[in-house]
Symmetry: C2
Subunit: 318 residues, 2 copies
DNA sequence: AATTTTTGAGAAAAGCTTTTCTCATATTGA
DNA sequence: TCAATATGAGAAAAGCTTTTCTCAAAAATT
């Protein structure tokens, strides 16, 4: 039995008798033959390997993205190198070089905010690069969540529950995500209340509630928060003041960070950015690029969805 | 110029004139030559690639471990495949097979608790396997944190601050980690107070405080918590009751989960399991195994350390 | 029955390095 | 000056697949 015959039998290629083909396959299965992906890659220029590059140390955003990528690609036999580069360009270069040496089929760049570049140069690489939840190079394909739409979802939900004095407590104005969300808030909730920019911390949530409740005049009946950590703090601060959530005030978060949203009392209704779906799309897209299919460049925006828990009233609570 | 001469020049091997060697190196640098790791691996049976397998979806434990592995191995040119298998054996097999096909030099199995196996068979693999923060197969090398020592650190710290009625609010007794920590607590703090087993949730932290403060008799002057989430809830619950932390009661957590420990008011003094160091050791160990060096099997326990913030009093607070 | 077509299987090359061996030239010593 | 040694460089094989080409035997056609 020649090597080439065996190869053709196993790959269902070439011409040969059905009986021979079967016999080869059986023998291969018997001895547990697994073709060497390296030799294969050497020939085909495909390694069924991609790299995921991120500066998101805690994995808050990158892990869901990664889960989506893996889910989409594992069926295609693709494995993923995860490289967490803090904000160190030298380290970034080392990792990228390592990936290139290993001939990854493509690279997905990700991060912790959509308006910052990774501290590493990904232009003119010999492999396709696509961006997911981080700022992409011009002319590249970039995936990100639709902050405006997500925020609109939140505000409309509050309005649908009859809330009319909705406050918006959010992160630093320097984030585009923050500005997008604030824009949706202003467009929909009017501008009776100013947007409260601050920090991504619980401390700011407490502080914001203190400001709102110490101001003169009518208090808000709903607070739309820029992320779940702020929302959690807001809920805690309200409880400490004896304000009931959701009876007196509805609170919506952003991110659907399980670990925060589900542990808050009451659990947070919050906007989910569908990062897993984003990862899935990104994965499928590098794969397409790697296979030589062409893909329209540009920014692809994926819709968010609202996860309803109990911090607003509405359906899943009493 | 022959290919073999070039190879020898670049690898500083073989005999040749210094001038030739230099010339080759310069030329290689000029054209940006990078040796193909696949061809290299085909020959040397080393791919400078390892797999990290985990069922820890949120990356709470695995990400620090991964950071350690990467940190230790990136200098050796090793890249890491991250495979998150929920608790799905089929998915696990797919991922392991994919890694084997790609001829990883070794596999590190990790997880979210040290007394559960990953739902996948890693015995009789053609590559070395080591375990980090998950239960290993008999005869394997396993790394884990020293729960007893970590807990002792916490209790002794409280005692050093003059606390005498120390309570222990922790997770489910089914976890060995919980039992180990409880053992240290009992050995050191005596058994005036029963260990309070419960769940890994904030709800349990609140509940436990309610139980402690509704019981008759003297109240605790310190609470050693089984993890940071419980600790956080305990701190919140105490504050709600008007009990001052750390003036009236000191609280220690476990895990040093930044995102919880640092956001708690006051920030938590807590035990850090040094997962990054654990990852580093694990990485270096697979590498050793991959290079054919022999390694003593068994369970290696790495010491925890106490991270002092403000929830106990003591140094970094007023 | 002789020739053409079809069919099945093997040989060889390619993909990129590294390593071992061989060989020609330069150098040293007698 | 001639033989023996040292030195530098190239040829070839190996590592594992896949693909293209070649070729012999079987089948079909005239």
């Amino acid at each position: 039995m020649s090597i080439s015959t065996a190869s053709k039998a196993l790959n269902n290629t070439g011409r040969m008798g059905d009986e021979t083909r079967e016999r080869v396959k059986r023998a291969a299965a018997d001895i547990g033959f697994r073709p060497n992906a390296l030799a294969r890659g050497l020939l085909s220029n495909r390694t069924f390997t991609i790299g995921l590059l991120t500066n998101d140390t805690y994995g808050r955003f990158t892990l869901p993205v990664m889960a989506g990528i893996t889910e989409a690609l594992v069926d295609h036999g693709v494995s993923v190198f995860l490289c967490t580069i803090e904000d160190d360009p030298a380290l970034g270069k080392v990792h990228v070089d390592a990936m290139l040496d290993k001939h990854v089929d493509g690279i997905i760049a990700s991060g912790k905010r959509i308006d910052r570049r990774l501290p590493v140069d990904l232009s003119n690489l010999p492999v396709p690069v696509i961006y997911a939840f981080t700022e992409g190079a011009p002319g590249s394909v970039t995936f990100c969540a639709d902050d405006y739409q997500g925020a609109a979802l939140a505000v409309e939900w509050l309005q649908g529950l009859g809330r009319r004095r909705i406050a918006h407590v959010t992160g630093p104005e320097s984030f585009v995500s923050v500005r997008e969300r604030a824009k949706a808030y202003r467009d929909l909730a009017g501008d009776r209340l100013p947007v409260m920019y601050g920090m991504w911390s619980e401390a700011w949530g407490h502080e914001a509630v203190a400001q709102l409740w110490s101001a003169a005049g009518a208090k808000p009946d709903a607070i739309f928060c820029g992320n779940d950590q702020i929302a959690r703090a807001v809920v805690d601060a309200l409880r400490e003041r004896g304000v009931r959530v959701p009876e007196d005030v509805s609170v919506v978060g952003f991110d659907n960070w399980e670990i925060v949203a589900a542990q808050t009392r009451p659990p947070l209704t919050t906007v989910d950015m569908n990062l897993k779906a984003l990862g899935r799309e990104a994965g499928l897209t590098v794969l397409a690029l790697a296979e030589g299919r062409s893909v329209e460049p540009g920014i692809r925006t994926l819709p968010c969805e609202l996860v309803v828990r109990q911090s607003c009233g509405g359906s899943p609570d009493r």
